[in-house]
Amino acid sequence: MSETTERKRSEVADVDRSLYDFVMSEEGYERYADGLTPDIVRAISEKKDEPAWMLEMRLKALDVFHEMRMADNWGPDTSGLDMDHISTYVSPKTKQARDWDDVPEDIKTTFERLGIPEAERESLAGVGAQYDSEIVYHNMREEVAEQGVIYTTIEDALHDPQWEPVVHQYFGKLIPMRDHKFAALHYAVWSGGSFVYVPEGVTLSYPLQSYFRLNASGAGQFEHTLIIVEPGADLHFIEGCSAPKYYEANLHAGAVELYVKDHARLRYSTIENWSKNMYNLNTKRATVGADSRMEWVSGSFGSHVSYLYPTTILQGARSTCEFTGITFAGATQDLDTGCKVILNGADTTASVDTKSISKDGGVNTFRSSVVIGAKAERARATVSCSSLMLDDISRSDTIPAMDVRCGSASVGHEATIGRISDDTILYLMSRGCSEAEARTMVVNGFANPVSKELPLEYAVISRRRRFRTSTCRPRRPGTTCASTRFPSRSRRPSPKARSSRACRASSTRSRPASAPKPPHGSWPRRVTPATSRSRPA
C-alpha cells in the first residue's frame, strides 16, 4: 500500500462502495420491468440506516416514477437512456470505476490535457479517494462549525437527532416528486449530496465547495443538495468543478433545493462539466424570502444531453434574483438549458443574462420562463440572451416564454443570435492578430461577463491548510486560451489575487492545445455567388 493510503483516514466517512451491491430478486416483480424494484430501494435505505419517513418517501417516489410518462416531443433526444433497464443506472455498474485502468482512454487524455495533476485524476475519475481533499473538507467543516454553520451530507444529518427534524421539514418540499419523471426517480434512489445550514445572521467569508465532499460519500449521480439560509445570513456555495467527472453509468438526475429566508443572500455557482456520455437531467430550485437575494452563476460545458433550468421563486416582497449563465455546446452535445423565474411578491426583480456558444455541430437551446403572478405589483424582469455560432453546422435556438399577469409589472427581453462579424475579425487582424487569435479574442470577450464569475479553478490540497488555492488552471474543453485567468468571486480576496486582471491578458497570445479551427473554408465567407460555397436555396 502506498504511503498516502496508510495515513489516518478515520475522521472522514469512508467511501461506501458497497452501497449499490445487492442481489436482485426476480420473484414477484414482473411489473417492474426495468428491474428497479421496491427491494432495491429498501436495500438502499437500509444501508443508509434511514428514518422510516425517508424510506416511505422513496417507495412512494418509485411508484410515481413508474406511473409517470416521459414528456413527448420536448427537448433533446433521450432515447439513448435505457429506460427499460433503469436499475442498471443504480446497480453495481453505476459505481465509479474501480480501477484507473477501467477509465476510458479519452477521459484519461482529457485529464491530461487539462493539466490536472496525477494525484487528482484518480479522484475525479472516482477511482481513489483523494486523501488530501478529504482532509481539507474536514478542516473546512471544523472552521465553519465554529460559526454554527452545518456542512455535511444529508445522510449524516439524518443520523443526528438535532438535524433530522430539520431535514424532514425541508427535504422534498420545494421539488415535488411529481415534478417530472426523473424527479421521481431521484427521490427513489437519491444518494449523497450536501446539507448546509447557515444560522440567522451568519455570514461566511469564503465559499463552501462541494468538490471536497463529493468523494467522501460516493456516487454523485443522484445527489440531493439541501441548503437553508436563515434570515440575515449570507452564503456562497460552489458546486462541481471544472474538470469533467467520469461515470460509467451515464445518467445524472440530481436535485438541489435552496431555501433563502428573509434578508438573506445565497450565491450558488455551478460548473456542469460531466463527461461526454452523460445525460444530465438536473433539477434546481430556490425559494426566496422578503428583501433577499438569490444569485445563480452557471457554466454548462459537459454532458451529451442536458436539461437544466434552475428555477427561482421570488416569494417574498422586494426579493431579487440574478442569473448569469454560459452554455457551450460542441460536437455530439445537445444542451437544453436556461432558467425560470417566478415572481410572486410585490416589487420583486429578476435579471437573467446568458450566453451560449455552439460549435462543431453542437446544439444549444436556450429555454426560459418568466412568470409574473397577479399579485406581483411593480415586479420587473429583464432577460438577455446572446448566442454565438462558430460555424454553420451547429445549432442555436432561443425559446423564451413570458407570462405576465400583473398590470403594473414590466418585462424586458432581448436576444441575439449571430456569428463573429467579418468586420470585427478584420479590425483585430489589422492590428496584427492572426485570424485564429482574433476569433479567440472575440469568443473570450463574448463569454467574459459570465465566465469571469465562474469558479473555474478547482482547489487543490494546500500544505498550509488553506481552503482554496489555485495551482491548476483547467481549460474549458472546446475553447482556447483559457489561460487568461478568471478569478472567482470569493468575497475574501484570495491571497494570490494579482493586482489587475488586465495584466494577465498577454496570455491570450499563448498557443492553446486546440485552437478553434476556422470554420468550413476560411474567413471571410461571402454570400455572393462568386465565392459562396453553398448552393443557392
Binding site: S421, S430, G432, R501, A505
Partner: protein, 254 residues
C-alpha cells in the same frame, strides 16, 4: 533622400459586384505625409482598405509593394505586423475585450514592442495623457459605448503605441468637435515626430491638414487618381472644390 516605403502600381480593385478603383498608382516614401482627397464615394476609403488587405475587396490588376515586399496577396494581420496601420472611420465594437488587454496583446506580439507590464503601463498612461484620455477608458470594453470622438482617440492611442511605418488615417477628422480635432491633430504630430512615420491622410475636408506639413497631395474621383501634386493642391481644392476633376472624368472616357 528617404526610401520608398509604399508603391502602388496600376492598382484596380473592387467588390464582386462592382469595380471601384481603376489603375491607381502612387508612392510614399518614409517619413512623408501624403493627403488623399476627393468627393464622397471617390474610393479613397476603399484604397485605404485595399492597402490594409481587407478581403471584402479583390484586386483585379496591379500591385502593392511595401518596404520592399510584394504585399498584394498578403493577409491583413501580416501587413499590420509589417508596419501598416489603418485608422478606421467607424471602428467596430468588440464587447467583452477590455481595451487594456487588447493593447497589451497587440504590443506583445511585436518583438520590437515587447516589454514588461510595468513599462507598458507607463507608456500607455503617457499616451493617454497626451491624448487627454482618462484612465477609466482602459478598463472599458473595446470601442463599446464610446462616442465617435472617443473612438477616434482610441485609434490614435493605438497609432502611438504601435509605431507603424505607415499610418493610413481614414476620415479621422470626420464627426469630431473642435477639441477632439485638436487632440487628434496632436496625436498625429506626435506620431510624426516620435516615429518619423509615413502618413496617408484620407479626408474630404481640409481642416485637419492645417497643422500638418504635407509633402504630397492626391485627388481621387470615381476611383481614379486624377491629380497628384505638392501641398498647394490642397489650397486649390479649398478654393475651387473638386468640380474640375469631376468634370474631367465625366467628360473624358476611361
Amino acid at each position: 533622400m528617404s526610401d520608398t516605403l509604399l508603391t502602388i502600381d496600376g492598382l484596380s480593385a473592387g467588390t464582386e459586384d462592382k469595380p471601384i478603383l481603376h489603375n491607381v498608382s502612387l508612392s510614399v516614401s518614409s517619413g512623408e505625409t501624403h493627403v488623399l482627397m476627393g468627393p464622397n464615394g471617390a474610393g479613397k476609403s476603399t484604397l485605404g482598405h485595399v492597402i490594409m488587405g481587407d478581403p471584402a475587396y479583390q484586386v483585379s490588376g496591379g500591385s502593392i509593394y511595401f518596404d520592399g515586399q510584394d504585399i498584394t496577396e498578403l493577409a491583413p494581420d501580416k501587413r499590420s505586423l509589417a508596419g501598416i496601420f489603418l485608422s478606421y472611420q467607424a471602428p467596430v465594437e468588440v464587447p467583452g475585450v477590455p481595451l487594456y488587454s487588447f493593447l497589451r496583446t497587440i504590443c506583445q506580439m511585436r518583438p520590437e514592442l515587447k516589454t514588461t507590464a510595468r513599462k507598458f503601463r507607463q507608456r500607455v498612461n503617457e499616451i493617454c495623457e497626451q491624448l487627454s484620455l482618462p484612465d477609466s477608458f482602459l478598463t472599458r470594453e473595446l470601442n463599446v459605448g464610446f462616442s465617435g470622438g472617443e473612438k477616434k482617440k482610441i485609434e490614435m492611442l493605438q497609432l502611438l503605441l504601435l509605431r507603424p511605418k505607415l499610418a493610413i488615417l481614414d476620415e479621422t477628422d470626420s464627426g469630431l468637435d473642435v477639441d477632439a480635432l485638436s487632440i487628434v491633430s496632436r496625436g498625429i504630430e506626435a506620431y510624426r515626430k516620435d516615429c518619423d512615420g509615413a502618413l496617408i491622410v484620407i479626408t474630404h475636408n481640409t481642416r485637419i491638414l492645417e497643422r500638418l506639413d504635407v509633402d504630397r497631395a492626391h485627388v481621387m474621383v470615381h476611383g481614379h487618381l486624377v491629380a497628384d501634386g505638392p501641398a498647394s493642391l490642397i489650397d486649390e481644392i479649398d478654393a475651387e472644390g473638386f468640380g474640375r476633376f469631376e468634370a474631367a472624368i465625366e467628360g473624358g472616357a476611361q
